[in-house]
Amino acid sequence: MSGALEQLYQQIILDHSKLRHGEGLRPAPDGSVPGESHQYNPTCGDEITLRLARNGEQITAISWAGDGCSISMAAASVLTEIVDGGISEADLLSKVDNFRDVLRSRGTIEADEEVLGDAAAFSGVSRYPARVKCAMLSWVAAEEALLASR
């Protein structure tokens, strides 16, 4: 084993891929505005439907349903952790941008755990360009769901 594989599949990712936070679509709480997005990766067939709940500028709830590889499922799980408990729209968008920058960096940008939490473990994905789409699937869905809830 080269060790590179363990850099990609860190234990934290494998754990999230099995114990998935936020899995199972739930209706947005009363009084909030829902926003939903379905994303599909035609190369592998992975898909996700993600739902956000908005109260003004705050995003107050997230849930999702999907089917895909460990990277895509774990990425949705760590995203849920970021949103859970509430986050401002601007803050969430900036984290999505940061996550995307890290993933597209081909290993040149180290993720900041302060900003991304468990999602920082996805730094290793940036060395595998073919897998960036897997990690981004749910995060792009969150961006689209935000737009849909406006």
Binding site: M1, S2, A4, L5, L8, Y9, L14, K18, T43, C44, G45, D46, D67, G68, C69, S70, I71, Y128, R131, C134
Partner: protein, 439 residues
């Protein structure tokens, strides 16, 4: 040195291929010598695209160094020579499938070959072509039959033809193991059937379909039989005349040839009755401002400058296959296919798609492994230098029927050893524990 060898140079060995012979064959394929992720490359993705022997690579280079010119036009010596190369290549490929050379139309790949066919039918339906072209008219009430195991390339062009013409698309279903429901085929193919299009060997299941039976069913109902030979022509002896198939599509890059070239075989009387698909230069006789007359097949279907160097190289690829012996290659790949299936079936959580051990299959195996997504399996194997295909393999309806979104596929060719298969199986044995899949 002639670019295209004459048939007299072809001799087929009789002894079975073994690992020792494969070790010599591998020396002809420069790409196989490389390291991938600190391991020797184990290439098990020939079902997607095959690797090229040096002679094929050199043939393309030699064409550009010595013979490059536009074909079928120009009176200079170079153009005459290039035309000879191009047409000799057609003869070589035609011979390889038991066809006459005017029955082989060059295309970019099998996908284009099948699109050519469906668009020609459309054009006949729109009233183009001659009186002879009326037999290709497809209209409401007509039925087009495919199978549930088709590659998208032999499904979507027929769907589109049905949409354009108002015909109905029907399909022969597969059973839970992925085998064609031949009991249903006889009912699905009926008097309204215009075309029956099906794959010779499945790119997912590895099964070899009862082609003779399907062709007979089609012909009994007056329908055209169209064969997708992408996974058969490179791996099995295919004789279009013995099969009596009307059309056959295949791709060069899956049979040791370069990318960018494939072919459509069609019976001469059919091709010559079909209206063209792509139009323009090189496919006409007389052109006025009002209209044009067209050349007979195959040139009628080859508008514009063709893939000449690729044709030359494909002929060398075909020669390589014939010198090695297609029957011997098929037997070797059947050995590798058996080894793959038997080995995979011993790994906990693995479900091999298609026929089980003991049933005939080509040298590939696609499978699902419980608790690990195909994409992750592919990544795990790549880390060890093993190249496999992951995903739906352009057969989404088949995967859906089998209850899957994606699978992993290992596919062999004449340059794979039993050691390749064993190395792959050894890696597979530790996939589930790496990903912590629960048993």
């Amino acid at each position: 040195m002639p670019v295209v060898p004459t048939p007299t140079t072809l001799t087929e060995a009789t002894a079975a291929i073994d690992d020792r012979e494969v070790s010599h064959i591998r020396n002809d394929f420069p790409i196989l010598a490389q390291q991938v992720n600190d391991n020797g490359l184990v290439y098990l993705d020939s079902g997607a695209t095959s690797q090229n022997p040096l002679s094929v690579i050199e043939a393309e280079q030699e064409f550009y160094e010595q013979r490059n010119a536009a074909v079928h036009r120009g009176a200079h010596s170079l153009a005459v020579g290039a035309t000879d190369v191009f047409e000799e290549a057609r003869e070589a490929v035609a011979r390889f499938i038991g066809a006459r050379s005017n029955e082989v139309v060059w295309t970019a790949n099998a996908t284009e070959a099948l699109n050519l066919l469906t668009y020609s039918f459309s054009n006949a339906t729109a009233g183009r072509g001659s009186d002879d072209s009326r037999r290709f008219v497809v209209q409401p009430g007509d039925e087009i039959v495919v199978t549930e195991m088709e590659h998208h390339a032999n499904l979507i062009p027929w769907q589109e033809l049905a949409f354009r013409t108002g015909a109905t698309l029907r399909y022969i279903p597969v059973d839970d193991d992925g085998a064609l429901r031949m009991d249903e085929a006889a009912a699905v193919i009926n008097e309204a059937t215009k075309v029956v299009a099906f794959t010779h060997a499945s790119n997912v299941l590895g099964c070899i379909n009862p082609v003779e039976e399907l062709i007979a069913l089609a012909h009994a109902r007056g329908a055209f039989a169209v064969l997708d030979g992408c996974q058969s022509v490179p791996h099995l002896p295919v004789d279009v005349k013995a099969l009596d198939v009307d059309f056959l599509a295949f791709s060069g890059h899956k049979m040791l040839g370069p990318t960018g070239i494939g072919a459509l075989y069609g019976k001469a009387d059919l091709l010559n009755a079909m209206p063209p698909f792509l139009t323009g230069g090189s496919m006409i006789t007389k052109v006025t401002m009002e209209g044009a007359d067209y050349l007979p097949a195959p040139n009628r279907f080859e508008a514009g400058t063709q893939q000449i160097s690729q044709a030359a190289a494909l002929a060398v690829a075909v020669n390589y296959l014939q010198e090695t012996g297609v029957k011997r290659i098929a037997a070797w790949e059947a050995t590798l296919g058996r080894r793959l299936v038997e080995g995979l079936q011993q790994i906990e959580g693995v479900r091999v798609l298609g026929p089980g051990a003991g049933t005939e299959r080509i040298g590939l195996a696609a499978f699902d492994i419980a608790g690990v997504h195909a994409h992750d399996v592919g990544q795990f194997l790549d880390d060890r230098g093993i190249a496999v295909r992951v995903g739906h393999h352009c057969a989404q309806p088949l995967h859906r029927r089998l209850g899957l979104i994606a699978s992993t596929r290992a596919s062999t060719y004449l340059y794979n050893t039993t050691a390749d298969v064993d190395y792959f199986l050894e890696a597979m044995a530790s996939v589930r524990s790496f990903f912590g899949a629960r048993s």
